[in-house]
Amino acid sequence: MNSKIIIYSSFLTGFLSLINIPIVQSETTQHLEIFKLKETITNNNQDIFTQDFDDDFVANENFNQEFAQQEYEVPDTNEENEENWPSPIEDDEIFWLLLVDRLEYRASDGKDLFYWDVQGWVGGDYERIWLKTEGEVAFAEKESGDAEIQLLYGYLIAPFWDLQVGLRYDREYGPDDDKGRVFAVIGVEGLAPNLFEVDTALFISENGDISARLEVEQELLVTQKLILQPRFEINLAAQEVENFGIGSGVNDIEFGLRLRYEINRNHAPYLGINWIRLVGRTSDFSREEGESVDNFSVVGGIRLLF
């Protein structure tokens, strides 16, 4: 090749990289110097490997191996102590997730409200710190609402199941009332056969009252981007807690059906319906307050994954 071209192009290459011009990758002129070995295979494969070799090279692989490992002296280029070497892979890394599962406006007869349900974790493969919060704000004549936050430690106890223990804090507020209480939480969250996502927990309040909650949901793909999410929730209590309007036994059941459109995995607006029915003593308490026990709402919101 013309040495002028080489020198010219070498300078140009160097210059371009110096001023950080992106190297354009594109098709190229393919001029080929033929790389050809004229020898062909003989009738017996083994012949080619038993013919005479160059004096200084023997194709015997046993010999080669020894050559590589013993006769060849490894240059001592790395004097650092082996104990200071880094790990070849870092498989103990900490990851995190923040899922705003439901952030929605609930329109129902006379009592609209804003609702959120957010879950997050930070941790490794086996141990994670979980944060869960849900709550609602009602925009009736006077603003009222309730909120709960849970801080849990989770440990992977089975391939699909995370055992979670921690604390829950509840707060209710309204025109007349403002009260809170603390619970101890023990729960299990995971994926049940048939791809039901299950989150269940037992709560013991600061006064020793015991209650439980089961949430089950599923994701059904209508298309790759359109996802139907049916969900079911039931709350139970062992004792009556009149102060919080809770009866013993089943307190309420809730059904939801949301259809979300995943613009991408991280952003998905949705529409849906939600139905809550209070039952037993809980519904009696609610009636006494003049509240409805049967609440159907149309919901719209967004699901966010961070």
Partner: protein, 588 residues
């Protein structure tokens, strides 16, 4: 400080580049045709010293600007061409602000030169120059890449060709490297985070409610039958010699010429199915090793495998080199043509495959298992290269077969106690070496299968293995955990091989994904029914619910990695160190 641009090496590595600048564009050196005959004949043309500089460089991939990790300013890294018998001396300078390394994939060398931080050496610190020096005692098609973090995903890989001392048992007129890779504009660490958040994050080909009843068993098992690839065309651009399909890398031939294509799968996560419509390919090397030629229409190349094929286009036409991803979410593409600028039709992507119950080891029908345990006599029948040996398989000594431990029977998979690190356990495991793999079952064309591979000469050590190590490939897709025997690297680090032994290493895949398992420093001889002609591989694909054995001659010292070559599987723990120890003295 050494001058990294020692003139001769600079010329060697950028000759093609210079030519392209002079005429047209700047291109990565790898996409240039290789050095020719002169180099082969004149040993002085081989560099005694090669200088490589690793740094972050602004690159354009498919017209879009990105920052990649380059070696001597190119992605892929420059082609390194060595000669068997020489001593390679390669100075690697790290201009990154983090540690780096180069691992010479498939090269038999002293363990300190293997280039794996934490196993072979300390890694190359920012600003440091590390000199690799090793005798080159093999020949064929290999490659090299970073073994630090996720750098490989950012472009830190290149081809390495070692020319043989003795002529190769096949002939050809032209020689091209075809290096396949996957590129993402995302930060690779974000890709991993996304997988940790949601393992199906990149799967946009899931089954919908239309198939709800078909999938009842999968749903029951909490598995996804469309889980073919963890990272897909949803984020990847697939590259051939660093170029997107639209750019169309082109190899030039004259009609009737025999063209050698050296396929290297340098992808981080992607298996490719390679075909050239209109041409049959004669596979002559696998993982750099000469094999008895097999002529096929298509082959699957697992991550980090290499296959050398020879094609002989006779018409004055263009032929598409089509490398479709296993999950059918994209493709890399190039062209063989008589002149630049030509192209041939690009095949349509085939429908994405769906896992079958066989991938969960639940197929008790063994009818498909009858045709592989003996030799594949028809492979040479397809061979239209007069120079090649049609009688290869007939010449083999069938009596050696009785020494073979190869067994294709399905066995109950009873060892299922791998803890929380393993989610799905196949009921049965069996050999699947005669299967082309998922998505290639019913193409009606000849697909390369592992049982086709037979070495061209008998292995030099025909000892029967005296010890067997069983290694289970395990994973928990829900949490994106990958491991061996249910334990990730940080929980169980080392396996011991005894020096001098011939070891049988049996992989049992408990997961429903293919894993390319790579052993450094030693060859794995695949026990595929080839008797003494077992093919030597540096990487073997283990299919779901497969039980596969390789035999290893432990003739080295030091420490060596053994890992899944899917980058993110390795990163989260599917990795072990092999320590070579003296055989313990038996207690008397």
């Amino acid at each position: 400080m050494k001058n990294p641009l020692n003139r001769r090496n600079f010329l060697r590595l950028t000759t093609g580049l210079g030519l392209a600048v002079g005429l047209d564009y700047l291109t990565p050196a790898h996409s240039q045709p290789m050095k020719g005959q002169k180099a082969v004949q004149d040993n002085s043309k081989y560099s005694d010293v090669i200088d490589l500089t690793i740094q972050e460089t602004s690159v354009k991939i498919g017209g879009r600007k990105a920052t990649g990790i380059t070696v001597n300013n190119t992605i892929p890294a420059p082609l390194i061409r060595l000669k068997e018998g020489q001593t390679a001396k390669i100075n690697v300078t790290n201009n990154l602000n983090q540690d780096t390394s180069i691992h010479w994939h498939g090269i038999i060398l002293p363990s300190k030169m293997d280039g794996v931080p934490g196993v072979s050496f300390a890694g190359i610190k920012p600003g440091q120059t590390f000199t690799y020096e090793f005798p080159v005692i093999q020949n064929g098609t290999y490659w090299y890449h970073s073994h630090s973090g996720l750098q490989e995903q950012r472009g830190h890989f290149g081809a390495m060709i070692i020319d043989p001392i003795e002529p190769e048992p096949f002939e050809y007129d032209k020689d091209y490297v075809v290096i396949l890779s996957d590129w993402t504009y995302e930060d690779p660490h974000d890709v991993l985070s996304n997988l940790k958040k949601m393992s199906a994050y990149y799967n946009n080909q899931r089954r919908t409610i239309e198939h709800l009843s078909d999938d009842s068993m999968w749903r029951e098992m909490r598995m996804d039958p469309t889980d073919i690839a963890d990272v897909t065309g949803a984020t990847y651009s697939y590259l051939m010699n660093g170029l997107v399909p639209e750019t169309n890398w082109t190899g030039i031939f004259k009609p009737g010429e025999k063209v050698r294509l050296r396929f290297i799968n340098a992808a981080a996560m992607t298996f490719f199915d390679v075909r050239i419509p209109g041409l049959r390919m004669t596979v002559v090397q696998a993982d750099g090793q000469n094999i008895q030629p097999v002529t096929v229409d298509e082959f699957r190349i697992g991550v980090s495998e290499t296959y050398d094929v020879i094609v002989q286009p006779r018409k004055e036409e263009a032929y598409t080199i089509f490398a479709e991803t296993m999950d059918r979410s994209g493709y890399a593409r190039g062209t063989l043509a008589i002149s630049k600028g030509m192209s041939a039709p690009i095949p349509k992507l085939r429908e994405r495959p769906v896992r079958s119950m066989k991938d969960m080891g639940m197929n008790h029908d063994m009818s498909g298992m009858n045709n592989n345990s003996t030799m594949n006599h028809d492979s040479s029948g397809h061979n239209d290269h007069g120079s090649m040996n049609h009688d290869a398989s007939e010449n083999m000594d069938h009596t050696t077969m009785e020494h073979d431990m190869f067994n294709d029977e399905a066995v109950m998979n009873d060892s299922n106690d791998f803890g929380v690190g393993n989610a799905g356990v196949p009921m049965m495991v069996q050999s699947r070496l005669n299967e082309p793999g998922i998505g290639l079952e019913n193409t009606g064309t000849r697909i390369l299968v592992y049982s086709d591979l037979r070495n061209i000469i008998p292995g030099y050590d025909q000892r029967k293995p005296d010890r067997e190590i069983e290694l289970h490939l395990t994973g928990n897709m829900e949490r994106y955990m990958w491991s061996f025997n249910g334990k990730k690297y940080s929980e169980e680090k080392e396996i011991t091989f005894y020096k001098g032994e011939r070891l049988r290493l049996t992989f049992i895949n408990q997961t429903m994904m293919e894993h390319p398992i790579h052993l450094h420093g030693m060859w794995m001889e695949l026990d595929n029914g080839a008797g003494q002609y077992k093919p030597r591989k540096h990487t073997v694909i283990v299919k779901p619910a497969e039980k596969m054995s390789v035999e290893v001659n432990v003739d080295v010292t030091g420490k060596w990695p053994l890992h899944c070559h899917l980058l993110y599987h390795m990163k989260v723990g599917m990795f072990r160190t092999v320590a070579i120890a003296d055989r313990p003295v038996e207690a008397s």
